[in-house]
Assembly symmetry: C2
Homo-oligomer: 122 residues x 2
Amino acid sequence: MTSGDTVTTFIRALELKDFGTACSLITDDCEYHNVPFAKVHGPEGLRSVLEPFLDRCGGVDWVVHHQVESGDVVMNERTDRFEMSGRWAELRVAGLFVLRDGKIAVWRDYFDQAQFTQAVSG
Amino acid sequence: MTSGDTVTTFIRALELKDFGTACSLITDDCEYHNVPFAKVHGPEGLRSVLEPFLDRCGGVDWVVHHQVESGDVVMNERTDRFEMSGRWAELRVAGLFVLRDGKIAVWRDYFDQAQFTQAVSG
């Protein structure tokens, strides 16, 4: 798998709320940073941020518009879609992933906090 | 020049406030979108957004942490630094560039609007 394949597999796992697979693809010290918010680390940090949130969602659909990679670095432009209370909330995101030994060691997502708040509050 | 080289040259031109060079590197219909704000088009649109803003700055220093490219698509992670009123404001940004015939046809920057407002207001 290339770095990009790993990121694609990771995102598909999150769409399925399959945290076992997702956590197997990140390093123990993985830095996960939604840049407008605080950063967390490792599988526990990832779960602490995403699991309660995705549990509130019906479908999860992250549309990747562009993805480019070079060696251990992958970036993508996405529309992250979350089905909440019967409607789809959408957030425009650009993500950076840096891999180490085939696992994701850094994941930073860039987006507008106000757009996120508006999207999830309907 | 690769697509990445063109983006690097474009960013260097903006750091120098050299809008002649910058505008020569974008298409006439270039879509420039600071995603939290409205999008503009073409050299005039680019100038209308950036020229008054950069004129307020002393130094302009856009630090590229990562840049990856594939064919016509370039993405980078940056800290855009602006010297304003004797201090340096910093904004964390992820950017997407799509080229057509060697010129930038799409530029979308992802960042947090609140962080931008806070940075430039000190």
